[in-house]
């Protein structure tokens, strides 16, 4: 009866709006790569010719490279550890009846809606109070707090969609809880776990506020960018760097979102 149900008919103004919205979403971001290839120092039209000099310039910058490796290290540690914590948490949320679950879940998800700035300052006060020296470790700790809710929300639909009877079948075939996890749960949910790793890596790598407040003498990449935003002559190199980060982040998150979905479709078929 698609004839008289309005929502099956294409709605031209709405489609136009959607297109405009996509432009609004991506256009500002697209200016970054555009100007990173611009020969002029100043970010303005008209463009002054094509150059790769700003990218070459990146390799000359010692502090920037150090910051880059710092970021990679932190992101690697954060993605692995928050995924390790998120997998059991998502499993528990997805399948167990337990009193107080909703409150606990809301609590764990809280950093999702708290500004990173607030969390950063608050964590800083806490660590100061405890007398902990600031370092990349404290940055990683801060990032874990931010990443954990994201990790759980990436994994949760996976585990909700995952047919519980597969695990029951494994237990029924005399496999212990731990081996059931290794032989059935993990392999069946691998796309979700990979998606989670990629997502948390990207979030940690790009995160600025926490890093700003929690790192000691070793800066992460976004902080390095921040500190150079003040110098106009460094702007084009910054654009080049930002382009690289944007492209990598986009690819990783895209892969992560795709992976998460592939897994879900498979899980549905199995059911």
């Amino acid at each position: 009866m698609a004839r008289y149900t309005g929502f099956h008919r294409p709605n031209r103004p709405l489609a136009l709006y959607a297109g405009a919205f996509a432009v609004f979403l991506y256009l500002p971001i697209l200016f970054i790569p555009l100007f990173s290839f611009n020969a002029g120092v100043y970010v303005k039209f008209p463009l002054e010719g094509f150059t790769l000099a700003w990218y070459a310039d990146l390799f000359q910058r010692e502090p920037l490279q150090r910051a880059f490796w710092n970021s990679v290290q932190v992101a690697a540690v954060v993605s692995i550890s928050s995924t390790v914590l998120a997998v059991p948490a998502a499993m528990a949320i997805a399948r167990y009846r337990m009193p107080g679950k909703r409150a606990a879940v809301s609590f764990i998800m809280l950093p999702l809606v708290l500004p990173g700035l607030i969390l950063g300052v608050a964590l800083l006060t806490l660590l100061n109070g405890l007398g902990v020296r600031l370092s990349l470790v404290t940055v990683a700790l801060g990032h874990m707090v931010i990443c954990l809710p994201y990790a759980i929300s990436v994994l949760l639909p996976r585990f909700i969609g995952f047919s519980r009877s597969l695990e029951e079948a494994s237990a029924d075939l005399c496999e212990s809880t731990w081996w059931t996890f290794l032989r059935v749960t993990l392999p069946c949910n691998m796309p979700g776990v990979l998606a989670c790793l990629l997502m948390t890596f990207t979030i940690s790598f790009d995160e600025f506020f926490m890093a700003f407040f929690l790192s000691g003498t070793e800066p992460t990449l976004p902080m390095d960018i921040w500190s150079q935003l003040r110098f106009p002559q460094d702007f084009p190199s910054l654009l080049a760097l930002s382009t690289l980060i944007l492209v990598t982040s986009f690819l990783m998150v895209f892969a992560s979102l795709k992976l998460g979905r592939i897994g879900l479709v498979q899980a549905k078929e199995v059911r």
Binding site: R97, S163, S165, L166, E168, A169, S170, A171, D172, L173, C174, E175, S176, T177, W179, T180, R183, V184, P187, C188, Q266, E269, V270, R271
Partner: protein, 360 residues
Amino acid sequence: MISLRSVCKSFGRMQAVNDVLLEIAAGEFFSLLGASGSGKTTLLRMIAGFEAVTSGQILIDGQPMQDTPPHLRPINMVFQNYAIFPHLTVRDNIAYGLRRLGTPKAEQARMVDAMLELIALPGYGDRRAHQLSGGQMQRVALARALILKPKLLLLDEPLGALDKHLREQMQMELRSLQRQLGITFVLVTHDQEEALTLSDRVAVMANGQVTQVDTPSGLYDRSRTRQVAAFVGTMNVFDATVRTDGSARIADVAGLGVMALNGCSQGRANGERVLVALRPEGLGLSRTKPAGPAHAVAGQLQARQYLGRRQLLHVKVAGRAAPVTVATAAARGEDPWSGDEGSPVWLTWAPDAVSILDPT
């Protein structure tokens, strides 16, 4: 073999299984029959160990098992959706449980081959779940459980997802497999025909309780409650009053007059209101008033249901709102009541077909 003693399960305030007592003997094909929500699946999952009992005991060979996690119970299960591991081949699925037993690789391969032979799927070893049909997945699930030589095999609506033809074929295979292996089977089903065809004994469940446990024929002939009677087939149920007729007890049924109560009237007081049950097979129908002492009631043939060799005839009787159902068998090539709707008929019944139901 397996004993359930006052097993209860509640989810919050909902009482899913209430005080179930069952004894299942070794080698028996036992069925839990009930509508959805009757608690039969919860009971099965408690036997398997997927749900903890709220109270009561589950004993297997005299050993209390209610607190043992599922992987340490000598029980295997065939799941309703088969639960074939999607990331493993058929071969690896069947061999799955052998890892724990430490069976050598070569021996494992030999056992899996034997199993593939048993379930008539040789050459399917390298396929995956999504390359199998429903019936094939069902066999793989069966093989995967049987390779561990369990004492008890649980089957959770195993044939529910199959079409009618395949279901009947699988029913026969299941029955002969059970005979061949001698393993105790406990089957959960909502299909009364399946339960009656396959089982040695059937427990009928409703509202979390077992209403009656009996052999299929016992269940049919001696239904204890109206619900059981309705569940295992068609049944005429009448409100009646118990009366004394000399030394014998009789039931007084509105519209049908008196029925003899042979042997099923113990403990019934004079004047007590009871439910009297009469299977359609226990009733007879004729066009003319039958001669002899048999009690006969005049009625009118209202409708008929043709079911092949057998047909159900619905007879309207003066003084009764609902028609009385009669089953008749017809010889080959005959359709004796064809076109007789609306004509007058006479109802008779055999005295031993009458029984009294529990009030519930």
